[in-house]
């Protein structure tokens, strides 16, 4: 190969090189996306399991947010491994609860004491609403059918003083 061709090839290679000038500035090196990363079943499962990094997010959201968490990719890999072994999402959830405790679930199972967690708000609104309806209905029944006018006869025609006071009150309302 002639010298000119050699340097020409080098220049082409250099131009084609897609290496980043400052790789560390682009975050940690990633692994290519695999099939499991876009699997709808795995995604649904990960939305129900909490990341253990302390972010309060589920595994899917955490691992696809900012991509700085080191916990959620591991948990994701663990789920993929279980899935490859043929475990169903329910079985994987069970394995995770046994390993990490109940707090791995993004929401507790509605059984036992946890059921109270789900039912109390709705029941509270229902009970308060029922009480409100009963009290209001009872108060309605006790209303007199005819109401005497509370305005004395001599106040029916406003005096100058009354009008001044009324104007003051109205200006207050308009404030």
């Amino acid at each position: 190969m002639r010298r000119r061709e050699f340097f020409g090839s080098l220049a082409v290679l250099a131009l084609q090189d897609d290496r980043l000038r400052m790789p560390a500035a682009a975050g940690g090196s990633r692994t290519p996306v695999g099939e499991g990363d876009n699997d709808a079943v795995i995604r649904s499962l990960e939305l129900t399991l909490k990341c253990t990094c302390g972010c309060n997010l589920d595994i899917f959201t955490c691992r696809t947010t900012d991509f700085t968490c080191s916990y959620s990719p591991q948990l994701h890999a663990e789920i993929l491994a279980h899935r490859e072994q043929g475990l169903t999402p329910e079985e994987i959830t069970k394995v995770f609860v046994e390993k990490y405790g109940e707090q791995i679930l993004m929401a507790p199972d509605p059984v036992g004491f946890n059921l109270a967690g789900y039912l109390v708000p709705g029941l509270a609104v229902l009970v308060a609403g029922s009480i409100l309806a009963v009290v209001l209905a009872r108060k309605q029944r006790t209303l007199p059918t005819t109401i005497e006018s509370p305005i004395p006869e001599n106040l029916a025609t406003p005096t100058g003083e009354d009008l001044t006071r009324l104007e003051e009150e109205l200006s207050e309302v308009a404030d």
């Binding site: 696809t64 707090q103 308060a128």
Partner: protein, 691 residues
């Protein structure tokens, strides 16, 4: 300057002690000088805190890294706007910010409140200076922003990259303004209880404060959602995080109050309930602060764990006990002046609206605290995340949306069945048509369909109210449509501003429904390669990786990945997402690389791209691509809601002057705009009657 700052804090504390001691003792009664001294204490406290704030700002701007707070939250190469706003970026500075703003609100309340409420003002000053004093006390003994280091570092640590966003410049102060301004209505409520002036006077005095607080909270929450969406990179705007929940709680109870107070104004009912709501709202604002600052519940938004939580718990318990004891003592004096006449009345609708709003607040509080309750009862740690909150709150939220449409359709006192039928026809038809349209378009998600249909119902209600009002004015005064609309709204800004707020809320609900159709995928792309993703509207988007460029910016190294986007084969633009490595003035890394999301937004859907990182240090990169339907509607809903709120609280809006006032008095014949008109009863919807 730190000495001056410390001294100012102590002076502010002393002013607070004077304000509380004299103001609450009531010894100022019959002694105008003493009464004035309480007001002066409020002004003095404000001046002291302005001095303290200026001292901290000077430390920040001059990079005085010997101050621990300055070193912890700024650096020499931090852009000046973020240096200034670092004032509220950390625990200590935000406590000072809180105290400063509260002292300002307290002073403003003394100035702008009508002299008719002069008897309440010393009590109000006592409460505001007292609450401010609590914050100063917390700073002095637990989180002092003027604390000095034993050495002076060459540069500061800098501001967390996620806080270096325009949203974070304005979102926290807005939320703080909301939380803080709640203290003023609370102070008036307590003043009314203490002074036994329990007529509607205190309600009139706080009307604008309550709307203002509510507006600040609304803006703060919406900006928080925007910041979370554009900055955090998780593709959503609400995660039911404890700190998010804490901001929602006072908003819900304040919304309830804004409705129930109308019943007290109109009918003299619900006095006890209204005082309770204001007290609870204030306590929830303090509770929110406690959650954010104590570290008792894990949250991504929390400040560093510290012992300020003990101060807040003590304050919360003391204020709660004192307020409810006082309410109990005044209970007999808060008897309703009238009774509910019919279940088919606006009063009843508002009562049920209050029930649902408070019910949602309770369920959010319950869910937030349930992990602690569960651990205490069972000894087992659990997580209560979005699936729980969605399951519990979505049905309640939809019922609330329904009531939002029902309230304006029912008359005060009593509504006849015939009137009910007439009022409900149009909104119901709109709701049914929307539901049918969605079904025909192929929507199959029940909750989303219900949400959008109910939004249609509310829109129908609002349109009907406007149409009737405009129609009445056009018939009576021969006005053209735009003039009739302007005058209708102008004559009763509170009512029609309220309707616009309802429109804002329904737009929110439509946006929330859109998130049910979110789609996403991850892809690894080399330059020139493409990935595709189908949108819920049936479009296919293709994304072509154009490459990654790297460059140095002011305080960071930027790696920018660019994707070309095509919809159904037609190029529609490019999206750029970045990784940012922040550095200090010596070029040293300060934080882990952060991500800047790339967003392409339109009315129907957002394309949301996150550059996850590169493979082996090359331009071959991983991307997370999400299509979020109707996100634009969230921001539109927020804007409409704020516009409606501003309209409702804007001064004026009623006929002014002697002639105008006489117009409002029954039996007086008046003329409008110099044109003789018959003296008639004001027609429903003409804009003169009250909401």
């Amino acid at each position: 300057m730190t000495l001056l700052g410390q001294f100012a804090l102590w002076l502010g504390l002393l002013a607070g002690v004077w304000g509380v001691g004299v103001g609450l003792s009531g010894k100022w009664k019959g002694n105008p000088e003493l009464a004035a001294s309480v007001t002066r204490a409020a002004y003095g406290q404000m001046i002291a805190l302005v001095v303290a704030a200026l001292a901290l700002w000077k430390g920040l701007i001059t990079h005085d890294f010997n101050i621990e707070y300055v070193a912890a939250y700024t650096s020499r190469n931090l852009p000046t706007s973020y240096v200034v706003t670092a004032f509220w970026a950390g625990q200590k500075g935000s406590l000072l910010f809180w105290a400063l703003v509260l002292s300002m609100f307290g002073a403003v309340a003394q100035v702008v409140t009508s002299r008719r409420h002069a008897r309440l003002l010393p009590y109000v000053a006592a409460i505001t200076t007292g609450v401010t004093a609590f914050f100063i006390l917390t700073m002095l003994f637990s989180a002092n922003p003027f604390e000095r280091l034993a050495f002076t570092p060459a540069d500061g640590r800098g501001l967390n990259p996620q806080l270096q966003n325009p949203g974070m410049v304005i979102h926290p102060p807005m939320l703080y303004l909301g939380y803080i301004s709640i203290t003023i209505p609370f102070a008036f409520a307590i003043a009314a209880l203490l002074s036994k002036k329990l007529d509607t006077g205190w309600i009139h005095a706080i009307r604008k404060w309550t709307i203002l607080s509510w507006l600040f909270l609304s803006v703060g929450i919406t900006l928080g959602m925007w910041w979370a969406y554009v900055e955090l990179g998780w593709g959503g705007y609400w995660a039911w995080d404890p700190v998010e929940n804490a901001s929602l709680l006072p908003w819900l109870t304040m919304t309830a109050f804004l409705h129930s107070v109308m019943i007290q104004e109109k009918r003299g009912m619900l006095k006890r309930w209204n005082v309770s709501l204001i007290v609870v709202t204030f306590l929830l604002s303090i509770f929110g602060t406690f959650i954010t600052r104590s570290g008792v519940i894990a949250s991504v938004h929390s400040f560093t764990q510290s012992n300020v939580g003990y101060f807040f718990v003590g304050f919360l318990l003391a204020i709660g006990a004192a307020s409810f004891s006082l309410l109990y003592l005044r209970w007999p004096a808060l008897e309703a002046e009238s009774r509910l006449e019919s279940m088919a009345s606006r009063e009843a609708a508002f009562l049920f609206n209050n029930l649902i709003l408070v019910g949602i607040a309770f369920s959010v509080l319950w869910g937030t605290l349930f992990p602690i309750i569960s651990e205490a009862v069972r000894g087992v740690k659990i997580t209560v995340g979005p699936p729980f909150f969605n399951r519990v709150n979505v049905p309640l939220g939809l019922f609330l949306l329904f009531l939002t449409g029902v309230g304006p359709l029912i008359a005060w006192r009593k509504t006849s069945p015939a009137n009910l039928r007439r009022q409900f026809v149009f909104p119901t038809v709109v709701a049914v048509l929307v539901a049918l349209g969605l079904a025909v378009a192929g929507m199959r998600n029940g909750w989303a369909m219900m949400s959008i249909s109910l939004a249609g119902f509310v829109l129908g209600t609002v349109l009907q109210e406007f149409q009737r009002g405009i129609g009445a004015r056009m018939r009576m005064y021969d006005e053209v449509l735009p003039l009739a609309l302007i005058r209708l709204v102008n004559r009763n800004r509170r009512r029609y501003g309220g309707y616009l707020v309802h429109v804002g809320i329904l737009v929110y609900f439509v946006a929330f429904a859109g998130m049910a159709f979110k789609t996403s995928r991850e892809a690894t792309l080399s330059p020139g390669e493409t990935a595709s993703l189908a949108s819920p509207y049936g479009h296919t988007y293709t994304f072509t990786h154009l490459g990654v460029s790297q460059y140095n910016a002011f305080n960071r190294v930027v790696s920018a990945a660019t994707l070309e986007v095509a919809r159904d084969g037609t190029k529609i633009g490019v999206i750029k997402s970045e990784k940012r490595q922040h550095v200090d003035s010596f070029g040293e890394k300060t934080f882990e690389p952060s991500t800047e999301v790339g967003i392409m937004s339109d009315l129907r859907e957002d394309i949301y791209v996150v550059y996850a990182g590169s493979i082996g240090g090359t331009e071959r990169a991983n991307f997370a691509i999400t299509i979020n339907p109707l996100v634009w509607w969230v921001w539109a809903g927020g804007a409409i809601l704020v516009f409606g709120g501003l309209l409702a609280m804007w001064p004026g809006g009623r006929p002014v002057g002697r002639l105008g006032r006489r117009e409002a008095q029954a039996g007086f014949e008046t003329t409008l705009s110099g044109v003789p008109e018959p003296a008639v009863a004001t027609p429903v919807g003409s804009g003169v009657e009250e909401a």
